[in-house]
């Protein structure tokens, strides 16, 4: 029998063989950039070389036919090179301005929206959902498709105060990350335990250790070793579900969506911030999630109206204050918005500074 093939542990591939020649030639020698129109960037190097980048949205979950269509467009209109952004947008680089308009036209004709630059709403960074995750409370691609359909104009135009980065997460681990607006699963009931399976499937001490509020303890149920949950302590986070699938957290009715705002990764102007809860109890309603979409559009609209140039969503709210935010978005402010653990005092208003 033939010797089995050993892997070549080559690691991260060198990008230079794949990089557009103008980028390669001016690597580390760029001078300035501007945006001639939404979806298009112009970068100029110290050498005087210029490169135009056309950015287009994709569905992220790409079939090989779509990938080949994008390759055909790149070969015919963009010198055979592409790159992808962290938010699954595709970028085509061309070395002359005359190539921009035909490329934009071809992309739009093929159904790929051109945009996502500057002060626009970029593609939603998202997770796997029902398509491929083993613990999802909702879908990812479907929620994103629904929202991006509704925000298409905001992707293809630069009309927001600053860039808007939206994320979704299909469980409370928040793999989608922090966002100016985040649409995340929020479970509202403790896990439902199949005690017949726990002993056979779960490493019980590991599950007990996984609970952030120490609400899980070992127990004998119907004569079998299992686990029980102190439902008064349980915060319904679902952390026990991945290591112990018989502790089912997903529920077709009680797994809701929550919306968070004001997350920011950059250290630009203000330090990075986490997003904050603004709405919960939103039905997880496939295939179009209309209730969540409506709230996202309402928040976006209020930000578009009220934000000053360069203010991100969180910076806008920091200026106008939370009372005004809840007023302009017409969202209820409830006891669930107030953090109530030991470290929460830093989120309380310890001052005589108030807004009316």
């Amino acid at each position: 029998m033939a010797e089995p093939r050993r892997p070549i542990e080559s690691g991260v591939p060198d990008p230079f063989p794949f990089m557009h020649p103008v980028l390669k030639r001016n690597y580390g020698q760029w001078n300035w950039h501007d945006r001639p129109r939404p979806g298009v960037l112009r970068h100029v190097a110290d050498s005087g070389d210029a490169i135009w980048t056309v950015k287009a949205g994709t569905q992220r979950q790409l079939d090989v036919f779509t990938v080949r269509t994008l390759c055909e467009i790149a070969d015919a209109f963009a010198e055979g090179h592409v790159r992808f952004t962290t938010r699954s947008n595709i970028e085509f680089m061309v070395s002359s301005e005359q190539q921009v308009a035909p490329l934009v036209e071809r992309l739009e004709a093929a159904g790929f929206p051109v945009g996502g630059t500057g002060n626009s709403v970029s593609m939603i960074s998202h997770t796997q959902g029902w398509l491929h995750c083993d613990i999802p409370g909702t879908d990812a691609s479907g929620v994103v498709k629904s929202l991006m359909d509704a925000m298409h104009h905001e992707f293809t135009h630069e009309e927001m105060p600053n860039r808007v980065k939206i994320t979704t997460s299909c469980c409370q681990i928040n793999c989608g990350g922090q966002g100016d607006i985040a649409i995340n699963i929020q479970h509202t009931k403790p896990p439902v335990i199949n005690h017949d399976l726990v002993a056979g499937v779960c490493e019980r001490p590991a599950v007990v250790a996984r609970c952030p509020v120490a609400a899980i303890r070992p127990a004998m149920v119907n004569g079998k070793p299992s686990l029980e949950v102190d439902e008064k302590k349980c915060v319904c986070c679902g952390a026990c579900y991945p290591p112990c699938p018989p502790m089912q957290i997903n529920d077709p009715v009680h797994s809701k969506l929550a919306i968070w705002v004001g997350g920011k990764h950059s250290s630009t102007r203000t330090k990075p911030t986490f997003h904050k809860l603004v709405a919960a109890g939103i039905p997880n309603n496939p295939p179009r999630w209309p209730e969540a979409t409506e709230i996202v559009l309402k928040i976006l609209g209020a930000y578009k109206d009220g934000g000053k140039p360069w203010e991100r969503v969180g910076e806008w709210i920091e200026r106008i204050g939370w009372p005004r935010f809840f007023e302009v978005t017409d969202l209820p402010f409830t006891k669930y918005h107030v953090d109530n653990w030991r470290g929460s005092r830093s989120s309380l208003n310890a001052s005589a500074q108030l807004r009316f």
Binding site: M19, H43, H81, D134, G177, S266, S267, R269
Partner: protein, 419 residues
């Protein structure tokens, strides 16, 4: 005879609207009757439609891998394989992209060809950690699929309790803000930890991310255990003629409202002759003014990186941001890059020795305290690591004189890098 297309009335509603539809893509794969994956994709659509009806997921994990590696393949077995047998096994291969996610159409087509032969034809570009995710591979096809991709020059990415696939911003390839060679740093660090990636044996996952400046386009601060952010130590570069041009074109009110007022430390002032005065000692390198006036302002010339440790998502103690562990490390010479690698090695070693099972670096530091962590990795304390000194008096300070003497000795020595 060809298998029938499943009825998917809910998914069908995601084919309308202006945004590209993943459902149309899935259907196209399912309808490619001349391809081996058509039946698999029909059943995949059937199962996904079921999820839309019941609002439940039907995938479970397992153990699937390639010879010599203990990670990189995400096993997925259907819980309702009886009804959807062709997609009973639907594993993902995580493949590391070229740093910066640059591709020629030629290499993308080669990936598609391999994937069409062995898998479902469905590719996510890219996953949240930065992998090319080839989704939908039968168990028996995982090894031959990997072998062909490996021969093309690609390697599997991370999964489980190991070093994960990394990501960088576009950086030096196309951005004037870039303060170091992001692709070089990414490849140097990640490729030094391939053993920890391919044969995971850490307490939990460990992520590197690289952004060329404080704009942090790679989301490193909040999404990585080891965030490398470009910065500079000397004065920012100002082209006063270009500043005057901006004022002439857009007006003083524009400059005041959109640039000066947003400076977080009031380090900018407009002179009466429309030139810009910069208080560089107060500047925190936030990038705002440079972003707005790309022709007039640039990072300084003495460039390097800041390293933040401990960013992560919610599990288990809530989302954490990375915090400063190395305020400034020059990153220009080969020796500088080796120093960065040395820091990474010490952080990973300390993590292996001190973290609890399933504990991320940020949680470990929260449990043991930043000072103990810094001592462990051999990095000197710096006021840049805190927002402000402690506010609570319940602390033993009987080693004060000794610590104060150390500080004075350090300050008397010539300025050095982080090490």
């Amino acid at each position: 005879m060809a298998k029938d297309m499943p009825k998917t009335p809910m998914l069908d509603q995601l084919e309308s609207g202006p945004w590209p539809s993943f459902v149309s893509g899935l259907k196209r794969l399912a309808e490619a009757e001349d391809k081996p994956y058509a039946p698999m994709m029909k059943d995949l659509l059937g199962q996904l439609e079921r999820s839309y009806e019941t609002r439940k997921g039907y995938w479970k994990g397992g153990t699937i891998g390639v010879l010599g590696y203990g990670a990189g393949v995400i096993p997925r077995f259907s819980e309702i394989a009886g009804e959807f047998p062709a997609s009973a096994e639907f594993h993902t291969l995580r493949i590391m992209p070229p740093a910066g996610m640059h591709y020629t159409t030629d290499i993308l087509r080669q990936i598609c060809d391999v994937w069409e032969k062995h898998g479902s034809g469905l590719i996510a570009l890219h996953g949240q950690s930065g992998d090319i995710m080839l989704q939908g591979c039968k168990s028996e096809n995982v090894q031959p699929c990997f072998d062909e991709l490996n021969a093309l020059g690609f390697d599997l990415g991370g999964a489980g309790a190991g070093v994960r696939t990394s990501i960088s911003c576009i950086g030096a390839a196309r951005c004037e803000h870039s303060c170091f060679d992001e692709a070089k740093a990414l490849r140097l660090l990640v490729n030094a930890f391939l053993d920890e990636m391919h044969r995971p044996s850490l307490p939990y996952k460990f992520k590197f991310k690289f952004s060329g400046c404080a704009n942090d386009c790679a989301n490193a601060t909040q999404r990585s255990d080891f965030a490398v952010l470009g910065t500079w130590r000397d004065d920012m570069q100002v082209d006063q003629d270009e500043v005057k041009q901006y004022v002439a074109d857009r007006g003083r009110k524009w400059l005041i409202d959109q640039v000066l007022t947003f400076c977080p430390t009031n380090a900018l002032s407009l002179n009466d002759d429309d030139t810009l005065e910069v208080d560089n000692r107060s500047c925190v390198r936030c990038m705002h003014c440079i972003n707005v006036m790309t022709k007039a302002l640039k990072p300084g010339n003495e460039r390097g990186v800041t390293v933040l440790i401990g960013g992560k998502r919610t599990l288990k103690i809530g989302d954490l941001m990375g915090t400063v562990a190395v305020p400034f490390l020059p990153l220009e010479t080969e020796e500088d890059y080796e120093k960065l690698l040395g820091i990474a090695q010490r952080v990973v070693e300390f993590f292996v020795e001190n973290a609890l099972e399933h504990e991320r670096t940020g949680e470990m530091i929260e449990r043991i305290g930043l000072v103990n962590f810094l001592e462990g990795i051999g990095v000197e304390l710096d006021p840049n690591m805190v927002n402000h000194p402690r506010t609570n008096s319940y602390v033993r300070t009987d080693g004060w004189d000794e610590e104060a003497a150390k500080w004075r000795a350090r300050k008397a020595a010539p300025r050095q890098a982080a090490e």
